[in-house]
Point group: C2
Chain length 324, copies 2
Amino acid sequence: MQRKKKQYAVGVDFGGTFVKMALVNDRGQILVREQFATHQAATQLAWTEAVAEAVERMLAQRGLRPSALAGVGVGVPGFVDFDRGFIYNLTNVPGWTAVPLAAKLKRRLGLPAFVDNDANLMALGEVAFGGGKNLQHAVFLTLGTGVGGGLVLDGRLYRGAFSMAGELGHISIERNGVVSPQGRGGLEQYIGNRRIVDYTLALLAAGRTTTLLQLCDGDRGQITPELIARAAKQGDKLSLEIFDYIADCLATALASVTYLLQPEAFIIGGGVAQSGAILFVPLRRHLRERLSPYFARLIKVLPAKLGNDAGAVGGAALALQAAP
Amino acid sequence: MQRKKKQYAVGVDFGGTFVKMALVNDRGQILVREQFATHQAATQLAWTEAVAEAVERMLAQRGLRPSALAGVGVGVPGFVDFDRGFIYNLTNVPGWTAVPLAAKLKRRLGLPAFVDNDANLMALGEVAFGGGKNLQHAVFLTLGTGVGGGLVLDGRLYRGAFSMAGELGHISIERNGVVSPQGRGGLEQYIGNRRIVDYTLALLAAGRTTTLLQLCDGDRGQITPELIARAAKQGDKLSLEIFDYIADCLATALASVTYLLQPEAFIIGGGVAQSGAILFVPLRRHLRERLSPYFARLIKVLPAKLGNDAGAVGGAALALQAAP
């Protein structure tokens, strides 16, 4: 007799500020949410205990036994070895160097546990249940302070030789471009939130006129990508020009990825992507111009759909996918 | 009783000038070769017949029955649909539009037959039996008139959504770079053979001194990447500078690919790669400089080993890999 595939899993989005958790079913629906402040569980032991107790509460709330769960999938902001469920280091969370987290969770919960990079799980979440549903080959990007990404190839996360593939923010768009610790001309050095603001401030310093200054009451320190998007939507010429520049930088990297991987679609999430048509219209145009007609016709650029839930839903998707 | 895995296959490298074939064993050794001029088999029927007869001669020479073969793998210079074994179009061979070649060969030979892009099969050949032996994740590049490539991910060729992944020659290295039908700033527009020569001629026109002019007896039309490599090996400063430039352009693209795919190695073949240390030493240095220390330490840049046999050996490797 074939055992029935498990229908539930828990996803954990381990952020620098909050740990967000969700009990998710096999259609990607969130049934129960839990969260706690990261600083409230400052040791590894306290963290594992807080997660385990939240899992138990979520199960109890739906009247489910632990055996109903395919497992727990955790997305973390840093370097992991997926195969070993091991965290090398978390970028902005102290005290998480060299941690066999999957083993700890598995021991505490008695359930399969998985640990992956957060951008990878957002990618998987979007492809399993969000903006990229039913795609076999998709590239996910998240635009924010940094530019992260994840690759779903042949229906599964592709992690590369050392769990670190999909670093789209470091794709070079200019051979002699901005130098950073990651190399030269990396996309993130042009369209990371801070870089967009710097670019804008430079244009203002050069004397360009814009309604942006009214929107921020003359306080240039208040300028954010969100504010620029708002001005652009109101027709501000400079702000539209800035979004055209962001779109072209992004299109340069996406054209390279298209030739390399030939995905069916790019799925784009994160703060800057919330701008909607202001970003997507010039992005699609620039990408088309940067591809031969054959590729230009086939590739799709889609908005992410899961928003802040992508990481937790992706964690659950990973556990569901891995279940026997 | 388990059936024994087949030990032989035939690879076919369908070039614009010659069709080269090889009977290959499961260790990648070429046992028999055959070839014919492409123009001597000008129709699809004549071509299929010529290949089938060559297969039969090769088998006879080794005293093997057709049933000893896992199948026949054909690499073609153009666009294919791998899953259907279908040729859309061949770039430089007239009369090969919309051809179900795998089905034709299978019918004529009574053996499994596969059709793929030639660069893909070179990639597979190098990873199965050449410069990338035993690698699970490797990116192959061939440097010539154009820059082609192929991706081996998780031990198998990755073809993308429409059989066309791995087009490394079109990765953009300059956002505002050279415009071509494929986009803007494509690697091939900088380091394709003709572009290397153009770059050199421009430096000569600008009055740079070099021993190149002696090597070509003052006839600038004789300058080729090979001649530049020869001058570089003799210590010619300008030629060394040109190879440094080629290496840096290449490193820009390879750094992007490293961040995206995190392969274990790049395997580099084709004419320009024959230059050896003149190319590989600056290439490894520039790539290291363009990567964070973690990635720089892990990635390898290896010369291809199979030379002109890569396509035929890769065709055989494909058939061996696909065999039940």
